[in-house]
């Protein structure tokens, strides 16, 4: 096998990279340029709403450079998890940016859009067939969960991307894709060892995050050869060390030695890491173990409600000493007050009140081992969630007034027990979503969930 070279300009499209680094990457003559554009890291909002995390301007700047670089070398550009969540709205958003750049720059290429948004009828059929299985841990799944999801995406492997390339695509914009499939696809097609291709991909997908110190979002380059691969950051001022590259399999993975992909498991338990130069690292011994059953992971988000929040501070030592008692009383009496103003048939009004006490256990909640240590001041975040924004706002404005005057036994007369930094004290947060599945589908083949749409860009 000849050497296969892969350019990863940035850990995530939209976060940026220096042009000088990218130009250096192009000068190394990669066989493919790949970039990840999404994650579940930022929470379920992008999947729920379809709105990407990064701005259009930032994404357009990065994509323009990649499209021009690709044109210059005549190699494929693969962008995965378009629009953060990879749903159809996010993919359409990236497509429009791509078409706009192509028009502005006079580019012509065959564009493939690989969709990952899932049809609910298809998923319900697979569910009834027993071909949707939970991972650990998973929320309960039934057809109702599928129905009430705002959006569901499947995480594609490298096969649908390879299919797009087989059909002659020069630019592939993919919906939700396993980060590694973006980078492993072309090397695997060119005959690279699958263990090395997948391990290299795992390192490439986060850009320069595998460097000893990443100064800013930047790129990385890999050379995949017969029995090893070499990885090096593009910025000459950054370096990789054997430890920094080995450490990268730790990042955001539950198990650093066995990393599950749709078609198998990347096994890095036998990998060795050695300095190739002062800045580059050579990796050997990685293995890819094909799975008996091909699985496609699902990601779903459903509306949890609409939120209004209140931020307040407490400095009164008497109140801090009995904060939980005060909060418990407040919760009960506030609920009674809510019933006076909101009638929901014969039943009680539906809302959720979450209270976080910053300075005590706001970050770790019930897991905080030092919750008993009283500080001199705490910040309280009240989060009211209801079925619509109007109701959330009504409840929050009631709560802010109710809470500030809610008494403690030590003081006689009307107290003002909370310091509000804002007026009005309530902030409307809009719709909030939750992830509602951690499951895999067992499809008949790796491509059936990922339809491909082809566009001849710049064709007369």
């Amino acid at each position: 096998m000849a050497e296969i070279r892969v350019l990863s300009p940035s850990g995530v499209l939209g976060s940026g990279f220096p042009e000088a680094s990218f130009e250096r990457g192009l000068s190394l003559r990669p066989h493919v340029i790949g970039c990840d554009a999404g994650s579940t890291d930022m929470g379920p909002a992008s999947l729920g709403t379809g709105v990407p995390h990064f701005s259009r301007e930032a994404a357009k700047r990065d994509l323009r450079l990649m499209l021009l670089g690709r044109e210059c070398l005549g190699v494929p550009l693969i962008v995965g998890s378009c629009g953060t969540a990879g749903g159809d709205e996010g993919l359409g958003w990236m497509r429009d940016i791509c078409l706009e750049v192509a028009k502005e720059e006079g580019l012509r290429f065959r564009l493939a859009l690989v969709h990952s948004e899932q049809d609910k009828t298809y998923l319900k059929r697979r569910f009834r067939e027993g071909r949707i299985r939970p991972l650990e841990p998973a929320p309960a799944l039934d057809e109702g969960v599928i129905d009430r999801s705002a959006h569901i995406v499947g995480m594609m492997g490298d096969e649908p991307i390879a299919e797009a390339l087989n059909e002659g695509a020069e630019v592939v914009l993919a919906g939700r894709a396993s980060d590694t499939s973006i980078f492993a696809c072309v090397p695997a097609r060119l005959g690279a060892d699958r263990g090395l291709a997948w391990h290299a991909a795992k390192i490439l997908e986060c850009g320069a995050a595998c460097a000893v110190t990443r100064r800013r979002p930047d790129g990385v380059f890999a050379w995949i050869r017969d029995d090893h691969f070499v990885v090096e950051p593009l910025d000459p001022g950054m370096r990789c060390s054997p430890q920094s590259v080995a450490s990268h399999t730790l990042y955001e993975n539950a198990d650093p030695f066995f990393i599950t992909e749709p078609g198998g498991v990347l096994d890095t338990s036998g990998s060795t890491y050695a300095a190739e130069s002062g800045r580059a690292v050579r990796v050997q011994g990685s293995a890819y173990r094909p799975a008996e059953t091909y699985t496609v992971k699902l990601e779903g988000a459903e509306l949890a409600g609409y939120q209004s929040v209140i931020i307040g501070g407490v400095r009164d030592p008497y109140m801090i000493r009995q904060l939980d008692t005060w909060l418990a009383g407040l919760r009960t009496d506030f609920d009674a007050r809510v019933r006076e103003i909101l009638k929901d048939g014969d039943g009680p009004p539906k809302y959720t009140l979450v209270v976080r006490v910053y300075g005590r256990d706001g970050v770790m909640g019930p897991l905080e081992p030092l919750a008993h240590e009283l500080p001199h001041e705490v910040g309280i975040l009240f989060e009211v969630t209801a079925q619509d924004q109007k109701t959330a706002r009504i409840l929050a404005s009631t709560l802010s007034h109710f809470a500030i005057h809610y008494p403690i036994p030590e003081w006689g007369g009307l107290i003002s027990g909370l310091a509000y930094p804002f007026a009005p004290a309530e902030l409307d947060k809009g719709p909030v979503y939750r992830f509602n599945m951690n499951h895999v589908v067992l499809p008949d083949n790796p491509c059936e969930m990922f339809p491909i749409e082809t566009i001849e860009v710049g064709a007369r």
């Binding site: 955001e252 650093p256 897991l367 951690n438």
Partner: protein
């Protein structure tokens, strides 16, 4: 008395997907890594006590090439659920920093 935080290059926590949390305790020096491993400062029992989780639900590995101890657990609350206060899971490592490492 030496603490884990003093010996480690980085102690971090992070989501491993929305349903799992993972903790990395990383060392610059081989000797510091070996010392912490030898002293068995971080094991499933200690970790389970701090994070109130049964040891059988904990994955703990020693990654020699990375000079790191890695622990993964199912998230007590799924990322960004209404009760979750740490969507990225980035601030859950706090109680590990001051664990004491005995002199060896």
């Amino acid at each position: 008395m030496t603490t884990l935080g003093e010996l480690a290059k980085l102690i971090r926590s992070k989501n491993a997907g929305p349903f799992n949390l993972t903790f990395d305790i990383m060392f610059e020096e081989e000797e510091a890594y070996r010392r912490v491993v030898r002293a068995n400062v971080v094991n499933k029992e200690v970790f389970g006590r701090i994070y109130r989780i049964p040891p059988e639900k904990i994955l703990l590995v020693h990654h020699d090439a990375a000079r790191a101890i890695k622990i993964s657990i199912p998230r007590p609350v799924f990322s960004c659920d209404l009760e979750d206060g740490d969507c990225y899971g980035g601030q859950q490592f706090g109680p590990l920093v001051d664990l004491e490492v005995p002199e060896t």
